[in-house]
């Protein structure tokens, strides 16, 4: 008889049953006095997302000098001070290269997200947000939502090599996609299913009708591509199925206003504005169950952010700005690094600003914030800064700084997946291969 405790459930196995939407509602999930219950009596879903900022940090301004909970907030993390208890800071964890060529701003980033460092953009495994989405993303309208705030049409959420989940770069387009056609107000007084939706569903099943025959005609690589096509069709079918049911009531939900047209480019002040609008829309989308998984690219890993009228970008500055001898670091680079944490605060504010159950949306979210390198000047992938923010419905413990002491960064990725219910005992390859859960994070 398998012992039923919280950990075994989080590990994903209860007598062989896969944890997902079908999980019975068990009290042991509610380790904080049942906080993960909405006033409507429904279980609040857990959400997961990543938040990337490019070009690393200034260690002496970011890493707390003490470990554990009693640390003094370092200056660059000061904007996040209000979330001290909901935040776990991870410093000193390395992406282990094992001789793999370090493609600047890419190898560390993708190594962190797949557990496998690669010398190019060709990932060798899906990024872990996709794996988590397969467990917690079922049953929401979008499997995941990808966003990029600095105008760059990029995403570091990969289903496989050459298959990114593309990012929305415009707040207006994001609004249209989520709250435009097909959106159902969860608190609408009445519900009438649209007969056209039923027809659309039958259209899609006609499209997938000859799936088996088609798959038999394909070679392995094309079979996999076709399989992905059918997965995407299935996702669309799910959207339609959701539209045929009355939406679950959501407390405190008000339909967001369509955002005004904004300038989308890499001027840091514009980026801050667009990022904040997108964060707000995303938070609303999470609250009313449009998606449970997201990836926000605040700045690209080779950050193109710039200050108006400057011929430098954040990225070129990391290579060209001299170290200020008095300060001991690059002053303008530090400005961008600090600004990135202000943006992170904006994002967390958006999640914390939505009431949910006895707490906020942030309490039911696990936000994993990270950069692509530690010291951008030398593209170092040792000690890439990482944070876990949010309580994930009580699935993780926060409120401390943990120093990795050159442990593999994949430990953090592994632990997060375990917390989110992915069935994974070990993760990563070579020196990144680990089965060592970060026990401070996941009990």
């Amino acid at each position: 008889m398998t012992q039923l405790n919280r950990r075994t459930i989080l590990r994903g196995m209860v007598n062989g049953a896969k944890v997902g939407m079908a999980l019975p509602f068990l009290d042991i999930f509610l380790d904080v006095n049942g906080e993960a219950l909405a006033a409507t009596g429904q279980r609040l879903p857990v959400r997961f997302g990543t938040w990337i900022w490019g070009c690393g940090f200034i260690p002496e301004r970011w890493i707390p000098t003490a470990e554990g909970s009693g640390y003094t907030m370092p200056p660059d993390l000061e904007p996040l001070a209000a979330y001290r208890d909901q935040m776990a800071i991870f410093s000193g964890f390395d992406v282990k290269l094992d001789g793999v060529a370090n493609k600047p701003h890419m190898t560390g980033n993708l190594g962190l997200r797949t557990g496998i460092p690669v010398p190019t953009e060709t990932v060798r495994a899906p990024t872990f947000d996709v794996l988590i989405g397969e467990v917690i993303g079922q049953g929401s309208r979008f499997r995941s939502i990808e966003l990029s705030a600095s105008g760059i049409e990029r995403s570091y959420s990969f289903r496989g090599a050459g298959s990114p989940n593309p990012s929305e770069v415009s707040p207006v387009a994001l609004y249209q996609r989520i709250f435009g056609e097909g959106f159902q107000d969860p608190n609408a007084a009445s519900f009438t299913p649209d007969p056209r939706t039923m027809v659309r569903r039958s259209v899609l099943s006609a499209v997938t009708d000859d799936r088996q025959r088609l798959m038999r005609t394909l070679g392995a690589a094309d079979r996999q591509r076709m399989d992905e096509y059918f997965t995407s069709v299935r996702q669309l079918e799910q959207q339609l199925e959701l539209q045929l049911q009355p939406p679950a009531k959501v407390e405190n939900f008000t339909m967001p206003q369509a955002p005004a047209e904004t300038v989308v480019d890499a001027d840091v002040e514009h980026v801050m504005v667009n990022h904040k609008i997108m964060a707000g829309l995303l938070a609303q989308a999470l609250a009313c169950n449009q998606t449970r998984v997201f990836n926000m690219l605040f700045s690209d890993t080779a950050s193109n952010l710039r200050r108006s009228a400057s011929s430098d970008t954040h990225h070129t500055l990391t290579h060209e700005e001299p170290v200020n001898p008095k300060l001991g670091y690059q002053e303008q680079v530090a400005w961008f690094a600090a600004k990135s944490m202000v943006a992170c605060r904006d994002f967390v504010d958006a999640l914390a600003g939505i009431k949910e159950g006895a707490g906020t949306l942030l309490d039911n979210t696990l936000l994993f914030a990270h950069s692509d390198c530690s010291i951008a000047k030398s593209h170092a992938v040792e000690g890439i800064p990482m944070m876990v923010i949010g309580k994930a419905g009580g699935r993780v413990r926060t409120g401390y700084h943990k120093a990795g002491r050159a442990d593999a960064a994949s430990r953090v990725g592994l632990s997060i997946q375990q917390a989110m219910g992915v069935q994974v005992e070990k993760w990563g390859t070579g020196s990144m291969d680990t089965n060592r859960t970060v026990t401070e994070l996941v009990a």
Binding site: G162, S163, P166, D210, T217, A220, S378, A380
Partner: protein, 574 residues
Amino acid sequence: MSVMIARTFKPSTLRRIGLGLCLALAGGIGWAQQGAQPEPAAVVEPKPLGGPLLMRRLTESQYRATIADVFAPDVAIAGRFERGLREDGLIAVGTSHGSMSAFSLEQYDVSARGIAAEVTGEKRRAQFVPCQPKSESTFDKACATRFVTDYGLKLFRRPLSPQERDRFVQVAQAAQAKLGTFHQGLEYALIGMLDSPHFLLRMERAEPDPQQPGTMRLDGWSKAVRLSYFLTNTTPDAELLRAAAHGELHSEQGLARQVDRLLASPRLASSVRAFFWDMFQFDGFNDLFKDPAIYPAYTTAVARDAQEQTLRTVVSLLVTQQGDYRDLFTTRETWLSRPLGILYRVPVATRNGWERGEYPANSARAGILTDVSMLALHSHPGRSSPTLRGKSLREIFLCEKVPDPPANVNFSIVQDAVNRPGSTARLRLAEHNDNPVCAGCHKLTDPIGLTLENFDGAGSFRAKENGAELDLSGSLDGKDFSGATGLGQAMHDNPSVTGCLTEKLYRSAIGRDIAGNEEPFVEYLMGRFEAESFRVPALMRAIALSKTFYAVSPALDQGPQRTAAAAAKKGNRS
């Protein structure tokens, strides 16, 4: 017994250009004729080797052109498109890789619903629906079948199997039952076809080759599709579908008739344009930003028109005038619009639209390398970049791969140079060349890029940088010259330039990389290109008429063949 697959490199005519450590690291291949006496290129096509059956996704421009041709150019496409995957320098190659995200399918469905509503809606159905139902409220199976059969052929680029046809007719019937009207039924059947993988992907099929028993060949429909998207960047037209139906593409004569017909059609220009848009990597304009305080003249209109300018030059030189490809690097003929006039600092009389222009003989500009598009795309938001310009030129036009900078470089010397007053890019980059770790690659990029320093990060002319005089001397593969016009001439004269174009055009046509043993065929094409005075349509003709272009052999991982015959034998549906 193990089978050795020989790689038939011919070191006599092709060689890797030895450009030192950097290129050796990258493994880039440069095409070059060796020595004073180049071997004559093969005049006869080498025995075709055959590649895999392909499953290529329609590009955005192909999707748009296809919808315009199947329905009408003014039928709206409401969905958005995922950015194309670029593999080995070409989105055309990326279409054979990667998969469709949920986002993409969602957006294809948005487009499909918009298109279907317009096509079957009251306003325009007379234009698009080939028959009238007996009544709007009772299902007219014959009319629905005709609609599905007609559009099935056009959208799947082959006739539907009876099972496929019946399936979409059933969709129409079920939709009518639910929603009430006959045309609503057709609307949903059409949505189904537009969402189908058989429309969104070009899925090729093979059949036994009666002329060579024991081997396979592409079926006529698949040949028509390869040919059509290659020469016209759109779906096969009615005449090509007719020829495919009658097996005419399997005969040399029948194929030649279609090839020459398509090469003479105005669609050839769209195809040439789409290929060069891809080769020039103009998708990069989607997230190219310039600082408005530094480059106030650079606007969204400029970004759009700059691409159009270069593509117009390409089309008028290569297609309209049937000119020599190498002249793209030296031509003074160009096109201008009002927004561009501001950046080029020339008056443009035409208020809306385009007029012919010329880079004056005494100016610093000549050839497309001095177009704003090329100069701005490969620069930083607030300054020029000789390195990015040189790198892109090698990768785009010479088919070389310049590696990324090593991760761990000490930039402190560079920092000193950057922050010195009155510094120029040349001074800053000189520091890289004193550093052996950097020098390998910077020697490949900078001597090219520095000759373009007369143009700022937005592509406007400047005589000085930071108040300092500019030294525009540079070199390309051992040839010294000065300034942008010198660079254009050096590119024009560089034998790698035409070889690279040949290789890229062929890779774009077949949607995959070229295997080592296919190089003799590429050599053959290079010879044909040269013999045809480097006229691009003539090169396209040589590819389209070759046996190699259509030859298929199952790839190792390609289990059972996609064959219509095999499916029919097993009694499978569709």
